[in-house]
């Protein structure tokens, strides 16, 4: 997919062959979250394009067990979960580049293939301590 490809047609094409079930765990809160609704709408639209994609909604305030299990502190947030949790998260409304990234991460999780070089994968596989990576992005 090209950067900026965010139209329904592009998404549909990208998501026609999702190789395995992927769950989008969507963290929301009822009050004080202006972007939770638009984020949920994007998540629903993405999920509507593939039978392999399911959405599970978690309330940031009420569902403390789930919130703790996924290590989420804010809403809106999306955890991309395959056979197991991958540790991949999106915070905020996935628009523009972030929507492209979300779709790409769904495809990666479904395929189980990171797309990284063998060298990179060998280095990463040796990691035995927690590493938290936060990438700050904008839609454009």
């Amino acid at each position: 997919m090209h950067a900026g490809a965010g139209g329904p047609v592009d998404l549909e094409a990208a998501l026609t062959n999702v190789a395995a079930p992927v769950r989008l765990v969507f963290f929301t809160q009822t009050f004080g979250c202006e972007t939770c609704l638009p984020a949920r709408q994007v998540v629903d639209r993405v999920a509507s394009l593939s039978d392999q994609i399911n959405v599970e909604e978690v309330n940031l305030v009420l569902d403390t067990g789930q919130v703790e299990a996924y290590g989420i502190q804010r809403a809106p947030a999306i955890a991309v979960v395959g056979e197991a949790d991958t540790g991949i998260r999106f915070y905020g409304v996935p628009e523009g580049h972030e929507l492209v990234s979300l779709v790409e991460s769904i495809l990666l999780v479904a395929s189980g293939d990171s797309g990284l070089s063998d060298e990179s994968q060998a280095l990463i596989a040796a990691v035995d301590q927690p590493i938290d990576i936060q990438v700050f992005v904008t839609p454009t």
């Binding site: 540790g87 915070y91 990234s101 990179s120 990691v127 990576i133 936060q134 700050f136």
Partner: protein, 60 residues
Amino acid sequence: MALVSPHITASAVAAVEYPDLVRQYRVTGVPKTVVNDRVEILGAVPEASFVSQVLAAAVA
């Protein structure tokens, strides 16, 4: 990287929606990567360089 290791979590944060985090991590441009709350990687860097910088953070 998160896909390869169960020890790694990776988050994309919409900068405009989280001004508190932008302040906390002094984000002045994107993409900006923050590893384990302290190591910073600015801009888009080649895969091998990115991986080595991230892994260096684990032992820093």
